[in-house]
Every structure is written in structure tokens, then in C-alpha cells.
Symmetry: C2
Subunit: 424 residues, 2 copies
């Protein structure tokens, strides 16, 4: 007997018919003798409907008082879900009880719309589990020290599930989603992409932050911090699949590096086209110049991703970085109006038609030549690299957007990730 | 400056446009210097939508565990309303804060789906009012001693508003609804029906329980118990009507009998056609017979309204009572299968095509001849009276359903309630 946390997304909870299927699946696990805690999202579309109503009444930017109301409104979506799932489980003959975040309580800080979980009281939940009940807890929300409802921000239900699993020291946290696991890359770009049966926590972090939209990144960080074994698996498999088979499906996110390192140097290829590249050309190469440029950008609340500074020549250097494409125009205006005059930069060059492609693998830590394999594969296809950054388990390149699919396929092949090769 | 509680029904909260109008009206009162507390219902249709989802998942009868979930689900409707209204008030430049019943807290017993309010903590609300905020509190719900969400049952938002007004010792509780006050009878039946500018609490109770669907009866009882001045008025008047005019509109429910008694013997005519009449014919006239019949009915959870026992002859008597029309067949079956054999009653006669018409007036207490005026008016129109019951401030007759409108119009005229006469 194990203590298992299930998390179901909005699509899985999208109708009473689907909620009934979730209930049958959970009841199956309970009947197998497991203590079950379930963290569902709001029914799909519900959070957007609620936020739409709110936006209709306060279209402008929101102060703290308004954000408090927004959180209270948005949190009701999950409050409906948990009640409905409890009813569905009871209808299956499985005792169940639901709690809102404030009832557990899941205590957070007071940062409305993006609160962070500070602690979870497990007493009430443990008592219910001991009494044979499935416990259903709202995702996405908690309560602050003053008793106000807070939400964790988009995708926060993943984080809630992992946090609950950590607080209860659960044996495993299963995230049911609309994909059947983590892939070596996006199968829509590379049909040969394979599902990984395990992936290390660090790799998952890199893949998630690089645009593999399987799991909310904060939930992965949380799982790493508290060493919660996390499994991503499909909510589309029939609910009555054998429990042994289901328990091994999807992708397990692990913390054991050793075993994994033997297997593959590169686990997956991540990519995104959400960024734009900006180069400040010919800035004087003197101490504090990076801060002069990026400090202004940060003050404008613009997130910077890749940063590259080239070697200087003639006392001047070029300074390049990427921002989210939505921030591109604003960043260029900011640089032109304040940073360029202040620094005496010779020119500004921007390019929104770029993409970032990354190879991710914990094996890179101890294997040499990985980056050069990457550069050769891109070169063989005539793809010019504009920027390069590396970390311990990731190497990223910025290239022209039009080459994105070509690059991803080339790298997937070069690192032996294609299904045909792997199963050969 | 006064402390005023406003209550708005689901229709008034039915869209963001309407919520904006509610906000403008409330802001107008706040600007006039009043401390404002608002208790809104869920957006119209929302409670039914939520209960529909729940019923889809548990179609059968619900145990306590299921009713707990039902309450948690249904309560979210008002939780959305209060947040939206707070946003709308803030957008009007009026500081506002919303609370769920559990946050105030509004403490109730644990009878899910029809909980009763036990106490209301006013500390948090008073602090907000003192800080110049409009406080918005969910209607319809509270929290039980174990921290579970409870609801007060249909129409419970009226009760919440009155209870909040009582706890805060508000100067007046204004119930905004889709009618502009309490009428002498239903204007759809009697076009000459007039709005009453005041009505006594006792008369309101009788009118409400007799089918004048203006206010939930429990809210009126609550108002009487705690002497909360209650005003029913229209939410359809333009929000920017002069506040003096608005404050005097609708119908005020008063506790001062003396003044009222001078004015009219009968204040209004109530009626309903929801009942069915059953007569147990020829039961032995001996002690305990009423209990033998009605005890069985009560055990089957069937509510009985009018009860009449005729004088006995030949050691036998006839025993008549009315039940809700929905319970008619079930009651007849019950009587036939158990009560008739047990009591040796000679026959059972049922009639579902009846109605009950009542005259209500606090003046009846001290005026003689009121009942005979009623009977004469009905007789003049050839209407046969089947049953009669009387209380201090009400006389009800059961007649054939087809005569209902005729009877109501005749009585309205006979007691001088027609607008033409009154204004003459």
C-alpha cells in the first residue's frame, strides 16, 4: 500500500462524463489498496470564463485590492471541480471528501495571482485517509496569513499537487495530462521522437523551461527540492487499464543521476520561437556596461533569457541578448531612448525572427565533444549559429526561425534519439 | 450617516452590465455618507447550472457526505458574485472588499443544504466599514463548527442579508428584487392591486407563507426576531434616481402595530394552488385518531397545511387536510394501504383541483365581522367554501381551483383594496 497523489488537468475534468472517468480511475487505485489524494484543475474553459467576467468589470491594470478579488473569483473554478469529483467518487461507492485550499489549509504568501506555498497542514488529510476516504484538494490556490484566498498563477495546480505530495511524503505524484509522457522532442516536429521512460529532474527542468510545455516549471523545482517522485502520464488511456501497467506508463522524473548517465548523453531537444534577439553594437568595453544595459531592461520588468557578450576590439564590444517576442518593441524603444544615448553605443540591431534550439542531457556533464557534435550537425545542414550559451546539462543556440524544424530534426538524429535507431 | 445593508437577487447580478449598475447604485449610497454592506445572490442561472452538474454525477438521493459536497459546489456561485461586484465598485472609484461566508465568518449549524445561521462575527466587517470600504458578503452560505461550507437553501440570500443587518444592528436592510414592493394581492390576477407603502411584520409573514413570493419567509422571521427594518424595493429603477426618493420607495416592513391598525382591517389577499385536499371519511371519533392519521403522514415526510376535523355523528367523524400537490398521490397511497385499514375509516376522498385563498390583516385582531364579510363576498359570487381555517391575523378558505381568480378579485373589492376605491 502506498500514498499516491493524482493530478488531473482541466481537459480531464472538462465535463461530467470526463469527471466520471477520473472517478473510476481513482477508485481503481483506491480499491488496489492505495491511499489516494487527488488535485484537480478547474473544468477546462472555466478559469478563462471567470477571468473574462472580471476583466469586463476592471479592464485596466489591477491594484492589490483588485487582485485579491480576482484570486477569490478564479479560485472558485477548482472549488467546483473538487466537489464534483467527490460526488462522482461517492457515486462509485468510494468514500471521498473535498477541501478548498483554505480548508486544508494550504498556506501561501500574500502575492495575489502568483502566490507561493509556504506550508501545508496534513492533519485533516491524514485523518481522512486513515478513515478510508479519497481526499480531493483544490489545485491552484491557498490562503494567506490574513485569511485571504490566493492563487498560484497559471498551471499552479501542478505545483499544488507536488506540494501536497511533499507535505504528505507521498510515494509518488502522478500528473495526468493530455500527453503520454516527456518526449525526446516535440513529435509534431520530429515524428521519430520517442517517449522517455525516465528523465532526471535537472533535464526535466531544462526541457520545461525551454518550452516543453508538459509540466509547469515551478512544480518541477518543487519536486526537486522535496524529492517527490513525479510521473507524467496520459489521462486518455482507458480508466480500466491494468493498474500495474498504468503505474509504469508515462515518464518518471527521477533524482538518481548515476543510472541515467550510462544511457544517453543527450535526452532531448527543446526549442522555442517566443524570443527576439537584440544586439547593442559598439558599446565602450568598460566595467559596468552590462549593468548599464540590462539594469534598464530589468527595471522595465522585461525578462532577459540568453545573454552573450563578444570579445572587444578597439575598446568597444557588442552586447546581445534575447527577450520575449512580446517585449521586443518595448525593449528596442527603451534602448534607443535611454540606453544608447547613455552608453554611446554605435548602433542597435534587432531581430524577431529567431528561435532557440537546445540539447539537454545530464550526460553532458561528463562527456566531452557534445557541443561540437551539435555544431557539426547544424553546419552539415547549412544552418548559421547566431548565439551560443551553455550550462552544465544544456547547450543552446540561437538561429534563424526558418531553420527551426530542420535544426531540431538534425539534432534529434545526430544524438541517436530517433525511434528507428533506438529500437534498432 | 446610517449603516445600510443592500441585498441584490440573481437577476440584478445576471450580467457584468447589471453588476455595473448595482455598483453604481451602491456607490451612490456610499457617496451619500452611508456605511454600506452588500449581500448579492449568485448570477441568475448559476446556482441551477452548478446543481445540474452535481445531479448529473449523483442523480439519486444524497447522503450527508454528498450534501456536504453539494453545498461546497453551490456556494461558489455567490463567491463569484461578490468578487465581481467588488471589482465593479473599485472601478467606480469606491474602495470595496468581498468576503465568503467562511471568511466573515457566518457561523451556521451543520445541516447541509438548509443550514441555519447561529452567529455572525462583525469585527472584520466593522473594521472595513470604518476604513471607508463597502463590504460585500456572500449570501446563501456560511461555515459550520467543523469548517465545512454550508448553504441556507433556496432564497437563503435574503436570510443572509437580514442576519448580517441584525448582527451589525443596521439601520435598514434593503432587499432589491424584481418587484417594486408588496402588493395587496398579485397584480396579474387583480389589475387594481396596490403597492403597500408599509406592512406589518406579522402580515408579511402570512403573505409570504401564503404564496406572495416576494421574500423568503425565513428572512422575514429573522427580521422580526431581531427587529431589522426591512424594505422591499425594485432593482429596476435607474441607479441614479435621487437617493431620498429611493429610500422611501418599495414597501417597508414595520414592527409598529398601533399606527397600522387604524388604517385597514385587511392588508392583502394571498392565494395558492399548490395544494390538494384529502378527506378521511367516517373514522371512529376517539382519542388519538388525529395522531393515527397525521402521524403516518408526518413519518413519510409529507407536510400538512390546513387541517379540519368535522363534528362527529354516529360515533364517526370526517378528517380533512391539505398537502402539497406533489405529495398528493403518495399521501393517498399511504392512507389507502396503512391508515384506512388501521383506523377502519369508511372512505378516502381526494381532490387536487382546489386552491386556498386567504385574507391577511393585523386589524382582524380587533375587528369583528371580518370573516363574515369574506364569506358573504364569496357567496355573492356563488363560490362554495370547502374548508375554513382562521388565525389571529388571517382567514383562509379552500375552494375549487376554477374559482380562484374570481374569489381573489371579489375579496380584494370587498375589503376596499382596489386602487380605484382607495384613491377615491
Amino acid at each position: 500500500m502506498a500514498l499516491i497523489v493524482h493530478k488531473y488537468g482541466g481537459t480531464s475534468m472538462g465535463s461530467t462524463e470526463r469527471i466520471r472517468n477520473v472517478a473510476k480511475r481513482v477508485a481503481k487505485w483506491a480499491r488496489a489498496g492505495h491511499q489516494m489524494v487527488v488535485v484537480p484543475s478547474a473544468m477546462s474553459g472555466e478559469t478563462n470564463r471567470l477571468l473574462g467576467l472580471a476583466k469586463d468589470l476592471q479592464p485596466g491594470s489591477l491594484d492589490a485590492a483588485a487582485m485579491r478579488e480576482l484570486d477569490a473569483i478564479a479560485a472558485t473554478g477548482e472549488q467546483v471541480s473538487v466537489g464534483l469529483l467527490a460526488l462522482a467518487l461517492q457515486a462509485e461507492g468510494q468514500p471521498a471528501v473535498s477541501y478548498g485550499g483554505w480548508q486544508v489549509p494550504i498556506k501561501t504568501d500574500s502575492v495575489y495571482t502568483k502566490a507561493r506555498i509556504e506550508s501545508i497542514d496534513d492533519e485533516r488529510v491524514r485523518a481522512d485517509l486513515a478513515a478510508g476516504k479519497v481526499v480531493i484538494i483544490t489545485g491552484f490556490q491557498g490562503i494567506d496569513p490574513e485569511g485571504n484566498v490566493t492563487t498560484l498563477g497559471r498551471g499552479g495546480s501542478d505545483t499544488s499537487a507536488v506540494a501536497v505530495a511533499a507535505a504528505l511524503k507521498a510515494d509518488e505524484c502522478l500528473i495526468y495530462t493530455d500527453v503520454d509522457g516527456v518526449y525526446t522532442t516535440d513529435p509534431r516536429v520530429v515524428p521519430e521522437a520517442q517517449r522517455l521512460s525516465t528523465i532526471s529532474f535537472e533535464e526535466m527542468l531544462e526541457l520545461a523551461s525551454q518550452g516543453s510545455k508538459v509540466l509547469q516549471i515551478r512544480s518541477v523545482e518543487f519536486a526537486g527540492k522535496y524529492r517527490v517522485p513525479l510521473r507524467v502520464l496520459s489521462s486518455f488511456t482507458p480508466w480500466d487499464i491494468a493498474i500495474d501497467e498504468e503505474a509504469k506508463s508515462g515518464t518518471l522524473i527521477t533524482f538518481e543521476e548515476d543510472e541515467k548517465m550510462e544511457k544517453a548523453v543527450v535526452s532531448g531537444i527543446a526549442f522555442n520561437r517566443d524570443e527576439a534577439k537584440i544586439t547593442v553594437v559598439g558599446v565602450p568595453d568598460k566595467p559596468g556596461i552590462a549593468y548599464q544595459i540590462l539594469g534598464a531592461v530589468a527595471e522595465a520588468n522585461i525578462d532577459v533569457d540568453v545573454i552573450v557578450q563578444n570579445v572587444s576590439h578597439d575598446g568597444r564590444t557588442d552586447f546581445s541578448f534575447t527577450v520575449h517576442r512580446n517585449d521586443y518593441t518595448r525593449t528596442m524603444d527603451l534602448l534607443k531612448n535611454t540606453v544608447q544615448p547613455a552608453t554611446g553605443a554605435l548602433n542597435l540591431i534587432g531581430d524577431a525572427k529567431i528561435c532557440k534550439v537546445s540539447i539537454v542531457g545530464i550526460g553532458m556533464k561528463s562527456h566531452v565533444g557534445v557541443a561540437s557534435t551539435m555544431f557539426k550537425a547544424l553546419s552539415d545542414d547549412g544552418i548559421n549559429i547566431q548565439m551560443i550559451t551553455t550550462s552544465e546539462i544544456k547547450t543552446s543556440v540561437v538561429i534563424a526561425e526558418k531553420y527551426m524544424e530542420l535544426a531540431v530534426r538534425a539534432l534529434h538524429r545526430a544524438f541517436g534519439l530517433d525511434a528507428a535507431e533506438a529500437t534498432a
